[in-house]
Symmetry: C2
Subunit: 175 residues, 2 copies
């Protein structure tokens, strides 16, 4: 599928509602359980998404489209810790919804021609990337975390499903 | 996490809205693209979920709780084909929402004690399974397909994300 802004934006618009629908009002056991070790809980994943709205996608779009240095500020993979501190999940979900709306309004306010999608910035690890790469990655990043939340939740029932585990793709099964 | 009906039902209740939020109103390219070969499109996944509401989870609960034979009818993994024929995605999403609501109403109408969760049925492949296994599998099955839809959608941008692919868990990357 070719990247087209008018097909990408509707996906980005839906993500806050998808994640709210998945998590809002569930028992804390669903929200604060992880996949073991230092893996993330659904709560931490939402905090990470909030942090991305503040420091990643639109700030980097502005760097690409702006007049100054093309170098992106490194993204803080621990940023969710400070982001979530002292907050409830409903607070984070609301914050994500508001920030995403504002960020997409900013994106839509710029006339982004297909040509402009070829403009570049410098990622601290990946090197030169285009605006097209960045905006496509924003969409896939949303999908990565929906994917992750559904897996984290499924794993809580890893034992409860008994022999069904072998049929459940999300638990490593064959379907 | 132990299986408890009152923590499982809220997840089952949310799934139709999660999937509607993910897909409703998106361009056909998102809805009718798959992962290659005979893998499923988001449209086919929703048709499969509808088919499961009709023939899988609650019918099998009734077999376990009923007086007759304990043997489950085999589930038709091709059932989504007939289920989706001639329908639009919004029709399938609505059907899923209504059926899920009816099925959960039926489940709540039965007084399911923890003891009753140990009652068993005979799965055509897995053999003896408990009602607890079946209901936990219903939840994980929802998660499997949310997981799958997010992956199918992400893969459409496999190339568009350029070098970001290595950071995207859903595309096999390391984050």
């Amino acid at each position: 599928m070719q990247f087209e802004l008018e097909k990408a934006i509707p996906v980005l618009e839906r993500t806050p509602l998808v994640i709210e629908s998945l998590l809002y009002g569930l028992d804390d056991e669903w929200i604060y359980s992880n996949e073991g070790g230092d893996s993330w809980t659904p709560f931490e994943i939402v905090a990470h998404l909030v942090h991305g709205e503040k420091t990643d996608w639109i700030p980097r779009t502005q760097i690409i489209l702006g007049e100054g240095s093309k170098e992106f500020t490194p993204f803080d993979m621990e940023g969710h810790i400070k982001e979530g501190r002292g907050k409830t999940l409903p607070q984070l979900l609301d914050e994500f919804k508001v920030l995403r709306k504002e960020n997409l309004a900013q994106l839509k306010a710029v006339e982004i021609s297909p040509d402009l999608l070829n403009n570049t910035g410098i990622h601290p690890v990946l090197g030169e990337v285009t605006l097209r790469h960045l905006l496509a990655a924003w969409v896939v990043h949303d999908m990565t975390h929906i994917h992750q939340i559904s897996r984290v939740m499924a794993k809580q029932y890893d034992e409860a499903v008994g022999p069904w585990k072998q049929f459940m793709g999300v638990l490593g099964g064959r379907r």
